[in-house]
Amino acid sequence: MSIQTAFEEATETYQVPRLIRLAPNLYGACFTLMKMIPARFILRRAEAQGLLPPHTVIVETTSGTFGLALAMQGVHMNRRVVLVSDPVIDERLYRRLTDLGAVVDRVPAAAGAVPGGYQAARLRRLAEVRTEHESTFCPEQYSNPDNPRSYATVAELFLECLGQIDCVVGPVGSGGSMCGTVGNLRTVLPECRAIGVDTHGSVLFGHADGHRELRGLGMSLMPANLDHRVFDQVHWCSASAAYAATRQLHRRHALFMGPSGGAAYLAARWSAAANPNALTVVMLPDEGYRYQDTVYDDNWLRGAGHLDQPLASEPVRVSDPTRPSGSWTCFDWGRRSYAEVMAGVAGVAGAAGAAGAREAR
């Protein structure tokens, strides 16, 4: 027998995604703020291990939802939080972070012009910030193994609610959510497929570093938490395609989610339709509020040229993952390491992108 109980603190309510049926064989895992899972896990574990004494300052480089999650958990734990961010940070997010007591430290705009872009500049600034405080703790979401580890509870939920899942689709940034969720699922279901969704100009799966409009997925630097051998297939999705899919998710299913989830939904819907016997789950990492003035505004979309082309009904299959071509492409990664895949395309003419990505690593 069990009874319903109340929550101890606000961030606890973010731990469990809602699983919602989108098609006969497709479920969405809807998170309010997925990054709360690693943020809360890492900070609570650090505290339990004595790594976070009372006057320790929590420092991290982030412009996005991980910072928000840290700032929220920082309130519960009564710790100061310093976040090193891009010069351009969403004004509403900035206000929310500062209201939570976090200090947002922006790197100068000029930093964007040099190799590694803002991400490298942020890492340098983070190192400086750490010398300015007597005691700091950095969660290091890109390399801390507790990031993927924290998603064991998500795998548990998937198994208890849905049983034998055949495929998980999700956006990839640090790699923590997909590698952690699928890695844990595979304890029980070794053949469960993983489809990672990236965006053009991200080094994660072989593109050269470049300008990226789509936020929440893709990276300029290779994160240690990304275990490429988890992925069976990789999709690259343009901002326009992701935005269109995000809106479809809203119109068809009344699910008000962010565009990284939209990109994942695009790939998942296609994959689930192509494999009607495969029970598929798609990760939808955040909600739509932050994007109301952009993704959810037709005038903005039109002005930015996102409505110029209709959404493709299927991805273009590419044989060279280093070449950005088309608004939606996919490549059979085959659970190989990055080096193995790149060795396979090294002979292909124009593998300049691969060279760029290796440098980035």
């Binding site: 580890r149 064991a152 509870t153 795998a155 548990e156 939920l157 198994l159 208890e160 609610c161 049983g163 034998q164 844990n184 699922l185 304890t187 029980v188 279901l189």
Partner: protein, 341 residues
């Protein structure tokens, strides 16, 4: 070391059988098991890590204990090699010492068809039957959790065969139930194999597994999957869980030919394999509700039988779990006549 923990029974925790107290002898039965479906370290209700397991019961094998009381001698006589049986009887006698007509000591006779040292729970079966026999003599049927507590005191670690009315995640080192997973297991047929005939595993000497971080995380995932498998009667998912648990155990007490057994099982449409984490038995699991289940089971068994002597394993039998198998009626608990010791 155990004396302080033996509490006298609270009257409302026992079921007295009117008119039977004071009979000449006491009898008790306990079934065997066939190793585990899952074993590892799991969070208890307070979030603390505890070693625990889910037992696969084995109807058809068991132990019958008979207790002959003595009112003059406080010792317990029993089979000389069975220290645990005598210890269990002592503990049970101490438990009932405040009862009217309580015995001081006595003699225990064990009759069992459970092989020893291969992971079928012969020891817990003997101990549980003994505790029940002493209770029976005192006119009492003990609740399962009390039997479990006494069994763990006698044995240090015990499996959960005394809890026979539900499927539990059982803390085998403290005798507590971490979670009730459901009322019963999905109907299954099991091909029982001994992977190292003649080898004996001394459970008491076995070092507790020191699981690594990945294994520890995996246990929570396996528990969640098993919770669903039991609640929905999903034998296929249960087979996945058992197989994963058997694979983890390969680092601690490997079973020869586990992969071969798994392949044979899957080839014939089975669900997976389970093993004794402190023994040599392995079971090939089949969904009893699947079409042609019994035929597949028999075909798989015949194929294994053909290979068995060459690769050095033995097929020990076919078992029906929550399901009966033609030609293998569930044994009557009180008709254990095959004496193996």
């Amino acid at each position: 070391m155990v004396a302080v923990q033996v509490l006298s029974p609270a009257a409302d925790r026992c079921y007295h059988r009117a008119g039977q107290a004071g009979s000449e002898i006491g009898v008790g039965y306990a079934p065997a098991h066939h190793g585990e479906l899952l074993q590892g370290i799991f969070a208890d209700a307070a979030g603390q890590p505890r070693r625990a397991l889910v037992t696969l019961p084995q109807p058809g094998r068991g132990t019958r204990a008979t207790f002959y009381p003595s009112y003059s001698h406080s010792g317990v006589l029993g089979p000389p090699e069975q220290t645990l049986v005598r210890r269990a009887a002592m503990l049970a006698l101490r438990y009932f010492s405040t009862f009217p007509g309580a015995a001081k000591g006595g003699r225990v006779e064990i009759s069992s068809n459970v092989p020893t040292g291969i992971g079928m729970g012969s020891s817990t079966s003997d101990v549980t039957a003994t505790i029940r026999a002493v209770a029976d003599f005192h006119g009492v049927t003990l609740p399962a959790d009390e039997v479990a507590r006494l069994a763990v005191l006698a044995e240090c670690a015990s499996d959960s065969i005394m809890i026979d009315d539900r499927v539990v995640l059982f803390g085998h080192r403290d005798g507590t139930v971490l979670e009730t997973l459901g009322h019963r297991l999905p109907p299954m047929f099991v091909i029982s194999c001994d992977t190292e005939p003649g080898a004996r595993v001394d459970t008491l000497r076995l070092r507790p597994a020191d699981y690594d971080d990945a294994e520890l995380a995996g246990f929570g995932v396996l528990r969640a999957a098993l919770r669903r498998a039991v609640a929905l009667g999903d034998a296929a998912l249960l087979g996945r869980v058992a197989t994963a648990s058997a694979r983890i155990n390969e680092r601690y007490l490997p079973k020869p030919h586990l992969d071969r057994l798994l392949r044979a099982c899957l080839r014939h449409g089975g669900c997976g394999v389970q093993v004794a984490h402190s023994g040599t038995v392995a079971g090939l699991l089949f969904d009893a509700l699947a079409p042609d289940a019994e035929q597949r089971l028999r075909r798989c068994a015949a194929e294994l039988e053909f290979d068995a002597s060459r690769i050095g394993i033995a097929i020990t039998g076919l078992i029906g779990v929550s399901a009966s198998l033609a030609g293998h009626p569930a044994a009557d608990p009180h008709e254990v006549e095959v004496l193996v010791r």
